[in-house]
Amino acid sequence: MKKYWFVTKNSMSEYLTYRLNFVLWRVRVVVSVLITFFLWQTIFSGKEVIFNYSESQMMTYIILLSFISAVVLSTQTFRVAEEINRGTLSNFLIRPISYFRFNIARDLSDKMINIAFSLVEVPLIILLFRPAFFWQTDPLNWLLFAAALFLSSLLYFEISMLLSFIGFWSREVWAPRFIFFILIAFLAGTYFPLDIVPPAVYSILRVLPFTYLVFFPLRIYLGGLDSQALVVGFGVTIVWLFILFFVMRRVWQNGLKYYTSEGQ
Protein backbone atom coordinates (compact mmCIF):
# COMPACT_ATOMS: atom_id res chain seq x y z
CA MET A 1 0.00 0.00 0.00
CA LYS A 2 2.86 2.32 0.87
CA LYS A 3 4.18 2.43 -2.70
CA TYR A 4 0.76 3.52 -3.99
CA TRP A 5 0.62 6.25 -1.38
CA PHE A 6 3.88 7.55 -2.86
CA VAL A 7 2.21 7.59 -6.29
CA THR A 8 -0.57 9.74 -4.80
CA LYS A 9 1.95 12.06 -3.15
CA ASN A 10 4.05 12.39 -6.31
CA SER A 11 0.98 13.11 -8.36
CA MET A 12 -0.05 15.82 -5.92
CA SER A 13 3.40 17.36 -6.21
CA GLU A 14 2.94 17.45 -9.98
CA TYR A 15 -0.26 19.44 -9.48
CA LEU A 16 1.43 21.85 -7.13
CA THR A 17 4.13 22.43 -9.74
CA TYR A 18 1.54 23.59 -12.28
CA ARG A 19 -0.57 25.56 -9.83
CA LEU A 20 -1.84 28.18 -12.28
CA ASN A 21 -3.08 25.48 -14.63
CA PHE A 22 -4.98 23.81 -11.82
CA VAL A 23 -6.51 27.05 -10.51
CA LEU A 24 -7.66 27.90 -14.03
CA TRP A 25 -9.27 24.46 -14.29
CA ARG A 26 -11.24 25.11 -11.09
CA VAL A 27 -12.29 28.52 -12.45
CA ARG A 28 -13.76 26.65 -15.41
CA VAL A 29 -15.75 24.34 -13.13
CA VAL A 30 -17.14 27.30 -11.14
CA VAL A 31 -18.06 29.24 -14.30
CA SER A 32 -20.00 26.28 -15.70
CA VAL A 33 -21.84 25.83 -12.38
CA LEU A 34 -22.69 29.56 -12.30
CA ILE A 35 -24.15 29.48 -15.81
CA THR A 36 -26.56 26.71 -14.81
CA PHE A 37 -27.21 28.36 -11.45
CA PHE A 38 -28.33 31.69 -12.94
CA LEU A 39 -30.37 29.97 -15.61
CA TRP A 40 -32.39 28.06 -13.02
CA GLN A 41 -32.64 31.08 -10.73
CA THR A 42 -34.32 32.99 -13.55
CA ILE A 43 -36.64 30.09 -14.34
CA PHE A 44 -37.72 29.95 -10.70
CA SER A 45 -38.45 33.69 -10.43
CA GLY A 46 -42.12 33.90 -9.41
CA LYS A 47 -42.51 30.12 -9.21
CA GLU A 48 -42.23 27.87 -6.18
CA VAL A 49 -42.07 24.43 -7.75
CA ILE A 50 -40.97 23.38 -11.24
CA PHE A 51 -40.66 19.78 -12.42
CA ASN A 52 -41.48 18.71 -8.82
CA TYR A 53 -38.38 20.52 -7.54
CA SER A 54 -38.54 23.41 -5.10
CA GLU A 55 -36.15 26.32 -5.68
CA SER A 56 -33.94 25.29 -2.74
CA GLN A 57 -33.72 21.71 -4.02
CA MET A 58 -32.81 22.82 -7.53
CA MET A 59 -30.24 25.41 -6.36
CA THR A 60 -28.69 22.84 -4.03
CA TYR A 61 -28.52 20.35 -6.87
CA ILE A 62 -26.70 22.85 -9.10
CA ILE A 63 -24.30 24.13 -6.44
CA LEU A 64 -23.33 20.66 -5.27
CA LEU A 65 -22.41 19.77 -8.86
CA SER A 66 -19.05 21.45 -8.20
CA PHE A 67 -18.43 19.07 -5.28
CA ILE A 68 -19.74 15.98 -7.07
CA SER A 69 -17.59 16.62 -10.13
CA ALA A 70 -14.58 16.97 -7.81
CA VAL A 71 -15.28 13.61 -6.17
CA VAL A 72 -16.57 11.55 -9.08
CA LEU A 73 -15.43 13.11 -12.34
CA SER A 74 -11.85 14.08 -11.46
CA THR A 75 -9.48 11.56 -12.95
CA GLN A 76 -6.14 11.13 -14.64
CA THR A 77 -7.06 7.94 -16.46
CA PHE A 78 -7.02 9.82 -19.78
CA ARG A 79 -3.22 9.59 -19.43
CA VAL A 80 -3.48 5.82 -19.89
CA ALA A 81 -4.33 6.32 -23.58
CA GLU A 82 -1.28 8.56 -24.02
CA GLU A 83 0.92 6.01 -22.25
CA ILE A 84 -0.31 3.26 -24.58
CA ASN A 85 0.09 5.38 -27.71
CA ARG A 86 3.57 6.57 -26.78
CA GLY A 87 4.73 3.17 -25.63
CA THR A 88 5.53 4.43 -22.13
CA LEU A 89 3.09 1.86 -20.75
CA SER A 90 6.04 -0.56 -20.90
CA ASN A 91 7.72 1.40 -18.10
CA PHE A 92 4.81 0.54 -15.83
CA LEU A 93 4.43 -3.07 -16.95
CA ILE A 94 7.96 -3.99 -15.87
CA ARG A 95 7.54 -2.44 -12.41
CA PRO A 96 6.41 -4.54 -9.43
CA ILE A 97 3.08 -2.70 -9.23
CA SER A 98 -0.48 -3.22 -10.38
CA TYR A 99 -1.22 -0.75 -13.17
CA PHE A 100 -4.85 -0.50 -12.03
CA ARG A 101 -3.94 0.30 -8.43
CA PHE A 102 -1.35 2.75 -9.74
CA ASN A 103 -4.11 4.56 -11.62
CA ILE A 104 -6.43 4.51 -8.62
CA ALA A 105 -3.62 6.06 -6.56
CA ARG A 106 -3.07 8.71 -9.26
CA ASP A 107 -6.80 9.43 -9.33
CA LEU A 108 -6.85 9.74 -5.56
CA SER A 109 -4.48 12.72 -5.69
CA ASP A 110 -6.69 14.32 -8.32
CA LYS A 111 -9.76 13.84 -6.19
CA MET A 112 -8.11 15.05 -2.98
CA ILE A 113 -6.97 18.36 -4.49
CA ASN A 114 -10.23 18.92 -6.35
CA ILE A 115 -12.28 18.17 -3.23
CA ALA A 116 -10.15 20.60 -1.21
CA PHE A 117 -10.88 23.35 -3.74
CA SER A 118 -14.58 22.53 -4.01
CA LEU A 119 -14.91 22.68 -0.22
CA VAL A 120 -13.87 26.33 -0.53
CA GLU A 121 -15.89 27.05 -3.67
CA VAL A 122 -19.25 25.71 -2.51
CA PRO A 123 -19.40 27.87 0.67
CA LEU A 124 -18.13 30.84 -1.37
CA ILE A 125 -20.92 30.47 -3.92
CA ILE A 126 -23.46 30.15 -1.09
CA LEU A 127 -22.05 33.22 0.68
CA LEU A 128 -21.82 35.37 -2.46
CA PHE A 129 -25.14 34.54 -4.10
CA ARG A 130 -27.14 33.55 -1.01
CA PRO A 131 -29.31 30.97 -2.77
CA ALA A 132 -32.01 28.94 -1.04
CA PHE A 133 -29.83 26.00 -0.01
CA PHE A 134 -31.12 22.71 1.31
CA TRP A 135 -29.11 21.25 4.20
CA GLN A 136 -29.62 17.53 4.62
CA THR A 137 -30.01 16.71 8.32
CA ASP A 138 -30.73 12.97 8.20
CA PRO A 139 -27.51 11.02 9.01
CA LEU A 140 -28.80 8.02 7.01
CA ASN A 141 -29.04 10.17 3.89
CA TRP A 142 -25.48 11.39 4.43
CA LEU A 143 -24.31 7.80 4.77
CA LEU A 144 -26.10 6.69 1.61
CA PHE A 145 -24.84 9.81 -0.19
CA ALA A 146 -21.24 8.92 0.74
CA ALA A 147 -21.76 5.29 -0.36
CA ALA A 148 -23.23 6.42 -3.70
CA LEU A 149 -20.31 8.79 -4.25
CA PHE A 150 -17.83 5.99 -3.63
CA LEU A 151 -19.56 3.64 -6.08
CA SER A 152 -19.96 6.42 -8.67
CA SER A 153 -16.23 7.15 -8.49
CA LEU A 154 -15.43 3.49 -9.15
CA LEU A 155 -17.94 3.41 -12.01
CA TYR A 156 -16.39 6.49 -13.60
CA PHE A 157 -12.92 4.99 -13.17
CA GLU A 158 -13.96 1.85 -15.06
CA ILE A 159 -15.65 3.75 -17.89
CA SER A 160 -12.72 6.13 -18.24
CA MET A 161 -10.17 3.28 -18.24
CA LEU A 162 -12.15 1.49 -20.95
CA LEU A 163 -12.14 4.63 -23.06
CA SER A 164 -8.38 4.90 -22.69
CA PHE A 165 -7.92 1.27 -23.71
CA ILE A 166 -9.08 2.30 -27.20
CA GLY A 167 -5.44 3.41 -27.45
CA PHE A 168 -4.41 -0.26 -27.88
CA TRP A 169 -6.15 -0.38 -31.24
CA SER A 170 -6.31 3.24 -32.38
CA ARG A 171 -4.61 6.60 -32.08
CA GLU A 172 -8.01 8.29 -32.18
CA VAL A 173 -8.39 8.43 -28.41
CA TRP A 174 -9.59 11.99 -27.94
CA ALA A 175 -12.59 11.88 -30.25
CA PRO A 176 -14.40 9.11 -28.30
CA ARG A 177 -13.57 10.90 -25.06
CA PHE A 178 -14.98 14.15 -26.47
CA ILE A 179 -18.28 12.38 -27.18
CA PHE A 180 -18.14 10.82 -23.71
CA PHE A 181 -17.77 14.26 -22.08
CA ILE A 182 -20.85 15.46 -23.95
CA LEU A 183 -22.82 12.39 -22.91
CA ILE A 184 -21.74 12.94 -19.30
CA ALA A 185 -22.72 16.62 -19.45
CA PHE A 186 -26.29 15.82 -20.39
CA LEU A 187 -27.02 12.20 -19.49
CA ALA A 188 -25.37 12.23 -16.06
CA GLY A 189 -27.37 15.21 -14.89
CA THR A 190 -24.84 18.06 -14.85
CA TYR A 191 -27.26 20.46 -16.58
CA PHE A 192 -30.48 19.42 -14.88
CA PRO A 193 -31.87 16.64 -12.68
CA LEU A 194 -32.64 13.72 -14.96
CA ASP A 195 -36.10 13.00 -13.57
CA ILE A 196 -37.45 16.20 -15.16
CA VAL A 197 -37.34 14.64 -18.63
CA PRO A 198 -40.43 12.82 -19.97
CA PRO A 199 -41.04 9.50 -18.12
CA ALA A 200 -40.32 7.37 -21.22
CA VAL A 201 -36.88 8.97 -21.63
CA TYR A 202 -36.18 8.74 -17.90
CA SER A 203 -36.98 5.02 -17.84
CA ILE A 204 -34.24 4.53 -20.48
CA LEU A 205 -31.79 6.75 -18.60
CA ARG A 206 -32.34 4.74 -15.41
CA VAL A 207 -30.69 1.67 -16.90
CA LEU A 208 -27.66 3.57 -18.23
CA PRO A 209 -24.55 3.93 -16.03
CA PHE A 210 -24.33 7.72 -16.58
CA THR A 211 -27.36 8.32 -14.36
CA TYR A 212 -25.49 6.92 -11.37
CA LEU A 213 -22.45 9.17 -11.75
CA VAL A 214 -23.97 12.50 -10.77
CA PHE A 215 -27.75 12.42 -10.60
CA PHE A 216 -28.22 9.48 -8.24
CA PRO A 217 -25.87 10.67 -5.44
CA LEU A 218 -27.36 14.18 -5.64
CA ARG A 219 -30.89 12.83 -5.53
CA ILE A 220 -29.99 10.88 -2.38
CA TYR A 221 -28.62 14.06 -0.79
CA LEU A 222 -31.84 15.92 -1.57
CA GLY A 223 -33.85 13.14 0.06
CA GLY A 224 -37.33 11.94 -0.82
CA LEU A 225 -36.25 8.69 -2.50
CA ASP A 226 -38.23 5.73 -1.20
CA SER A 227 -36.52 2.48 -0.22
CA GLN A 228 -37.45 0.82 -3.51
CA ALA A 229 -35.84 3.60 -5.55
CA LEU A 230 -32.72 3.35 -3.37
CA VAL A 231 -32.46 -0.41 -3.77
CA VAL A 232 -32.95 -0.17 -7.54
CA GLY A 233 -30.42 2.70 -7.78
CA PHE A 234 -27.71 0.93 -5.81
CA GLY A 235 -28.56 -2.37 -7.51
CA VAL A 236 -28.14 -0.96 -11.03
CA THR A 237 -24.89 0.77 -10.00
CA ILE A 238 -23.44 -2.46 -8.61
CA VAL A 239 -24.51 -4.46 -11.66
CA TRP A 240 -22.80 -1.92 -13.94
CA LEU A 241 -19.71 -2.00 -11.71
CA PHE A 242 -19.44 -5.78 -12.13
CA ILE A 243 -20.16 -5.75 -15.87
CA LEU A 244 -17.65 -2.99 -16.54
CA PHE A 245 -15.06 -4.61 -14.26
CA PHE A 246 -15.12 -7.84 -16.26
CA VAL A 247 -15.19 -5.98 -19.59
CA MET A 248 -12.29 -3.80 -18.43
CA ARG A 249 -10.19 -6.84 -17.40
CA ARG A 250 -10.96 -8.61 -20.68
CA VAL A 251 -10.17 -5.56 -22.83
CA TRP A 252 -6.96 -4.97 -20.88
CA GLN A 253 -5.79 -8.58 -21.38
CA ASN A 254 -6.64 -8.49 -25.09
CA GLY A 255 -5.09 -5.06 -25.44
CA LEU A 256 -1.82 -6.22 -23.91
CA LYS A 257 -1.62 -9.00 -26.53
CA TYR A 258 -2.01 -6.32 -29.19
CA TYR A 259 0.37 -3.83 -27.56
CA THR A 260 3.72 -3.41 -29.33
CA SER A 261 5.26 -0.61 -27.26
CA GLU A 262 5.34 1.47 -30.42
CA GLY A 263 7.05 4.81 -29.92
CA GLN A 264 9.49 3.61 -27.28
Binding site: L20, V27, I35, L39, I43, I179, I182
Partner: protein
Protein backbone atom coordinates in the same frame (compact mmCIF):
# COMPACT_ATOMS: atom_id res chain seq x y z
CA UNK B 1 -3.98 41.24 -49.23
CA UNK B 2 -3.94 38.84 -52.19
CA UNK B 3 -0.79 37.21 -50.85
CA UNK B 4 -2.37 36.65 -47.43
CA UNK B 5 -5.50 35.18 -48.94
CA UNK B 6 -3.31 32.79 -50.94
CA UNK B 7 -1.41 31.78 -47.78
CA UNK B 8 -4.67 31.28 -45.89
CA UNK B 9 -6.03 29.18 -48.72
CA UNK B 10 -2.89 27.00 -48.71
CA UNK B 11 -3.10 26.48 -44.95
CA UNK B 12 -6.82 25.72 -45.21
CA UNK B 13 -6.20 23.17 -47.98
CA UNK B 14 -3.67 21.43 -45.73
CA UNK B 15 -6.12 21.28 -42.84
CA UNK B 16 -8.81 19.83 -45.13
CA UNK B 17 -6.32 17.16 -46.26
CA UNK B 18 -5.62 16.34 -42.60
CA UNK B 19 -9.37 15.90 -42.12
CA UNK B 20 -9.29 13.11 -44.69
CA UNK B 21 -6.26 11.48 -43.05
CA UNK B 22 -8.11 10.91 -39.74
CA UNK B 23 -11.62 10.46 -41.07
CA UNK B 24 -12.99 8.43 -38.17
CA UNK B 25 -11.75 10.86 -35.54
CA UNK B 26 -13.11 13.81 -37.51
CA UNK B 27 -16.45 12.08 -37.89
CA UNK B 28 -16.62 11.40 -34.16
CA UNK B 29 -15.74 15.00 -33.33
CA UNK B 30 -18.40 16.25 -35.73
CA UNK B 31 -20.95 13.86 -34.19
CA UNK B 32 -20.00 15.15 -30.74
CA UNK B 33 -20.52 18.76 -31.78
CA UNK B 34 -23.92 17.96 -33.31
CA UNK B 35 -24.91 15.94 -30.23
CA UNK B 36 -23.96 18.81 -27.92
CA UNK B 37 -26.02 21.22 -30.01
CA UNK B 38 -29.05 18.90 -30.03
CA UNK B 39 -28.86 18.18 -26.29
CA UNK B 40 -28.83 21.85 -25.30
CA UNK B 41 -31.59 22.61 -27.79
CA UNK B 42 -33.64 19.79 -26.25
CA UNK B 43 -32.92 21.24 -22.81
CA UNK B 44 -34.31 24.64 -23.89
CA UNK B 45 -37.44 22.98 -25.28
CA UNK B 46 -37.83 21.08 -22.01
CA UNK B 47 -37.58 24.32 -20.03
CA UNK B 48 -40.23 25.98 -22.15
CA UNK B 49 -42.61 23.12 -21.44
CA UNK B 50 -42.83 24.57 -17.91
CA UNK B 51 -42.33 28.28 -18.51
CA UNK B 52 -43.68 30.68 -21.11
CA UNK B 53 -40.81 33.13 -21.08
CA UNK B 54 -37.18 33.28 -20.02
CA UNK B 55 -36.11 36.73 -18.79
CA UNK B 56 -38.96 38.16 -20.88
CA UNK B 57 -38.08 36.30 -24.10
CA UNK B 58 -40.35 33.71 -25.68
CA UNK B 59 -39.21 30.35 -27.03
CA UNK B 60 -38.41 31.50 -30.58
CA UNK B 61 -36.43 34.47 -29.30
CA UNK B 62 -34.43 32.29 -26.88
CA UNK B 63 -33.77 29.83 -29.71
CA UNK B 64 -32.55 32.73 -31.84
CA UNK B 65 -30.08 33.67 -29.07
CA UNK B 66 -28.85 30.07 -28.97
CA UNK B 67 -28.54 29.70 -32.74
CA UNK B 68 -26.74 33.04 -33.03
CA UNK B 69 -24.35 31.95 -30.29
CA UNK B 70 -23.74 28.66 -32.12
CA UNK B 71 -23.07 30.48 -35.40
CA UNK B 72 -20.55 32.93 -33.89
CA UNK B 73 -18.90 30.20 -31.82
CA UNK B 74 -18.52 27.88 -34.81
CA UNK B 75 -17.25 30.63 -37.12
CA UNK B 76 -14.70 31.64 -34.48
CA UNK B 77 -13.48 28.10 -33.95
CA UNK B 78 -13.33 27.47 -37.66
CA UNK B 79 -11.07 30.46 -38.24
CA UNK B 80 -8.93 30.43 -35.11
CA UNK B 81 -8.36 26.73 -34.34
CA UNK B 82 -4.60 27.33 -34.62
CA UNK B 83 -4.72 29.28 -31.37
CA UNK B 84 -5.42 26.00 -29.54
CA UNK B 85 -2.10 24.61 -30.84
CA UNK B 86 -0.07 27.75 -30.29
CA UNK B 87 1.41 26.78 -26.90
CA UNK B 88 3.41 24.00 -28.56
CA UNK B 89 5.15 26.53 -30.80
CA UNK B 90 6.15 28.55 -27.76
CA UNK B 91 7.30 25.77 -25.44
CA UNK B 92 9.27 23.99 -28.17
CA UNK B 93 10.77 27.20 -29.51
CA UNK B 94 9.28 26.51 -32.96
CA UNK B 95 7.71 29.95 -32.89
CA UNK B 96 11.14 31.15 -34.13
CA UNK B 97 10.31 29.47 -37.45
CA UNK B 98 7.15 31.53 -37.75
CA UNK B 99 8.98 34.74 -36.92
CA UNK B 100 11.53 34.36 -39.70
CA UNK B 101 8.98 33.65 -42.43
CA UNK B 102 7.87 36.47 -44.74
CA UNK B 103 4.33 36.31 -43.34
CA UNK B 104 3.01 38.30 -40.41
CA UNK B 105 3.44 35.96 -37.38
CA UNK B 106 0.14 37.10 -35.88
CA UNK B 107 -1.68 36.19 -39.08
CA UNK B 108 0.07 32.80 -39.16
CA UNK B 109 -0.66 32.13 -35.47
CA UNK B 110 -4.32 33.05 -35.78
CA UNK B 111 -5.25 31.50 -39.12
CA UNK B 112 -2.76 28.62 -39.39
CA UNK B 113 -5.43 25.94 -39.08
CA UNK B 114 -8.98 26.10 -40.41
CA UNK B 115 -11.36 23.71 -38.71
CA UNK B 116 -13.33 22.07 -41.48
CA UNK B 117 -15.73 20.47 -38.96
CA UNK B 118 -16.95 23.86 -37.81
CA UNK B 119 -17.13 25.04 -41.41
CA UNK B 120 -19.55 22.17 -42.11
CA UNK B 121 -21.87 23.31 -39.33
CA UNK B 122 -22.05 26.96 -40.46
CA UNK B 123 -24.50 26.36 -43.35
CA UNK B 124 -27.10 24.54 -41.21
CA UNK B 125 -26.82 27.21 -38.49
CA UNK B 126 -27.50 30.00 -40.99
CA UNK B 127 -30.50 28.10 -42.38
CA UNK B 128 -31.88 27.52 -38.89
CA UNK B 129 -31.47 31.22 -38.02
CA UNK B 130 -33.33 32.21 -41.20
CA UNK B 131 -36.11 29.76 -40.28
CA UNK B 132 -36.46 31.12 -36.73
CA UNK B 133 -36.49 34.69 -38.09
CA UNK B 134 -39.58 33.84 -40.12
CA UNK B 135 -41.29 32.79 -36.87
CA UNK B 136 -40.63 36.07 -35.06
CA UNK B 137 -42.98 38.97 -35.91
CA UNK B 138 -41.74 42.52 -36.48
CA UNK B 139 -38.42 41.68 -38.18
CA UNK B 140 -37.61 44.07 -41.03
CA UNK B 141 -34.77 44.59 -43.50
CA UNK B 142 -33.11 47.34 -41.45
CA UNK B 143 -33.00 45.22 -38.28
CA UNK B 144 -31.55 42.26 -40.23
CA UNK B 145 -28.88 44.58 -41.67
CA UNK B 146 -27.93 45.76 -38.16
CA UNK B 147 -27.95 42.13 -36.98
CA UNK B 148 -25.47 41.14 -39.71
CA UNK B 149 -23.28 44.20 -38.98
CA UNK B 150 -23.24 43.24 -35.29
CA UNK B 151 -22.36 39.64 -36.18
CA UNK B 152 -19.32 40.97 -38.03
CA UNK B 153 -18.60 43.10 -34.98
CA UNK B 154 -18.75 39.93 -32.84
CA UNK B 155 -16.10 38.38 -35.05
CA UNK B 156 -13.89 41.44 -34.48
CA UNK B 157 -14.33 40.96 -30.73
CA UNK B 158 -13.56 37.25 -31.02
CA UNK B 159 -10.43 38.08 -33.00
CA UNK B 160 -9.31 40.49 -30.27
CA UNK B 161 -9.82 37.85 -27.58
CA UNK B 162 -7.78 35.33 -29.51
CA UNK B 163 -4.98 37.85 -30.10
CA UNK B 164 -4.90 38.54 -26.34
CA UNK B 165 -4.75 34.80 -25.61
CA UNK B 166 -1.86 34.43 -28.08
CA UNK B 167 -0.02 37.32 -26.46
CA UNK B 168 -0.54 35.75 -23.03
CA UNK B 169 0.90 32.50 -24.37
CA UNK B 170 4.03 34.29 -25.61
CA UNK B 171 4.50 35.95 -22.24
CA UNK B 172 3.52 33.12 -19.86
CA UNK B 173 3.55 29.92 -22.01
CA UNK B 174 0.09 29.25 -20.50
CA UNK B 175 -2.70 29.11 -23.01
CA UNK B 176 -4.62 25.85 -22.74
CA UNK B 177 -6.84 26.86 -19.86
CA UNK B 178 -6.87 30.54 -20.85
CA UNK B 179 -8.53 29.73 -24.16
CA UNK B 180 -10.88 27.24 -22.50
CA UNK B 181 -11.91 29.77 -19.85
CA UNK B 182 -12.60 32.19 -22.70
CA UNK B 183 -14.83 29.51 -24.23
CA UNK B 184 -16.61 28.80 -20.94
CA UNK B 185 -17.31 32.47 -20.33
CA UNK B 186 -18.44 33.00 -23.90
CA UNK B 187 -20.73 29.98 -23.33
CA UNK B 188 -22.73 32.20 -20.98
CA UNK B 189 -24.07 33.77 -24.17
CA UNK B 190 -25.98 30.60 -25.10
CA UNK B 191 -28.95 32.13 -23.34
CA UNK B 192 -30.02 35.82 -23.15
CA UNK B 193 -27.65 37.68 -20.81
CA UNK B 194 -30.71 39.22 -19.11
CA UNK B 195 -30.92 35.89 -17.29
CA UNK B 196 -27.87 36.79 -15.20
CA UNK B 197 -28.35 39.06 -12.22
CA UNK B 198 -26.31 42.20 -11.48
CA UNK B 199 -23.36 42.77 -11.13
CA UNK B 200 -22.58 39.69 -13.21
CA UNK B 201 -24.69 40.97 -16.11
CA UNK B 202 -22.73 44.24 -16.39
CA UNK B 203 -19.48 42.35 -15.93
CA UNK B 204 -20.17 40.02 -18.86
CA UNK B 205 -21.49 42.86 -20.99
CA UNK B 206 -18.83 45.51 -20.67
CA UNK B 207 -15.80 44.02 -18.88
CA UNK B 208 -15.75 40.60 -20.53
CA UNK B 209 -17.97 41.59 -23.44
CA UNK B 210 -19.82 38.30 -23.90
CA UNK B 211 -23.02 40.29 -24.04
CA UNK B 212 -21.81 42.55 -26.83
CA UNK B 213 -20.49 39.56 -28.70
CA UNK B 214 -23.34 37.07 -28.36
CA UNK B 215 -26.46 38.91 -27.23
CA UNK B 216 -26.30 42.38 -28.85
CA UNK B 217 -26.89 41.16 -32.44
CA UNK B 218 -30.14 39.46 -31.38
CA UNK B 219 -31.18 42.33 -29.10
CA UNK B 220 -30.70 44.78 -32.00
CA UNK B 221 -32.73 42.50 -34.24
CA UNK B 222 -35.55 42.38 -31.71
CA UNK B 223 -35.44 46.17 -31.41
CA UNK B 224 -34.37 46.32 -27.78
CA UNK B 225 -31.01 48.01 -28.43
CA UNK B 226 -30.81 51.80 -28.86
CA UNK B 227 -28.73 53.27 -31.71
CA UNK B 228 -26.17 55.04 -29.43
CA UNK B 229 -25.42 51.69 -27.79
CA UNK B 230 -24.99 50.06 -31.21
CA UNK B 231 -22.50 52.77 -32.22
CA UNK B 232 -20.71 52.40 -28.88
CA UNK B 233 -20.45 48.65 -29.58
CA UNK B 234 -18.54 49.22 -32.83
CA UNK B 235 -16.23 51.76 -31.19
CA UNK B 236 -15.63 49.39 -28.28
CA UNK B 237 -14.77 46.44 -30.54
CA UNK B 238 -12.40 48.40 -32.75
CA UNK B 239 -10.69 49.86 -29.67
CA UNK B 240 -10.27 46.37 -28.20
CA UNK B 241 -8.83 45.14 -31.49
CA UNK B 242 -6.20 47.91 -31.49
CA UNK B 243 -5.39 47.26 -27.83
CA UNK B 244 -5.04 43.52 -28.44
CA UNK B 245 -2.67 44.09 -31.38
CA UNK B 246 -0.62 46.51 -29.26
CA UNK B 247 -0.49 43.84 -26.53
CA UNK B 248 0.65 41.27 -29.09
CA UNK B 249 3.44 43.57 -30.28
CA UNK B 250 4.46 44.15 -26.67
CA UNK B 251 4.49 40.38 -25.98
CA UNK B 252 6.79 39.79 -28.98
CA UNK B 253 9.36 42.08 -27.38
CA UNK B 254 9.25 39.82 -24.28
CA UNK B 255 9.62 36.59 -26.28
CA UNK B 256 12.72 34.75 -25.11
CA UNK B 257 12.79 31.88 -27.62
CA UNK B 258 13.14 29.37 -24.78
CA UNK B 259 13.79 25.72 -25.77
CA UNK B 260 14.86 26.62 -29.30
Amino acid sequence: MKKYFKVWWLMTSQSIQMFFVSRLGALLFLSGKILRFIFFFGFLLLLFSKTEALAGYDLNQVILFYFTFSLIDSATQMLFREVYRFRQYIVTGNFDMLLVKPVNPLFRSLFGWTDILDLITLGPFILMIVYVLTKIPGINFASVAIYIALLINSMILATSFHVIVLALAVMTTEIDHAILIYRDIVGMGKIPIDVYSEPLRSLITFVIPVGIMMAFPVKALLGSLKMPLIIFTFVFSLSLLFISIAFWNYSLKKYTSASS
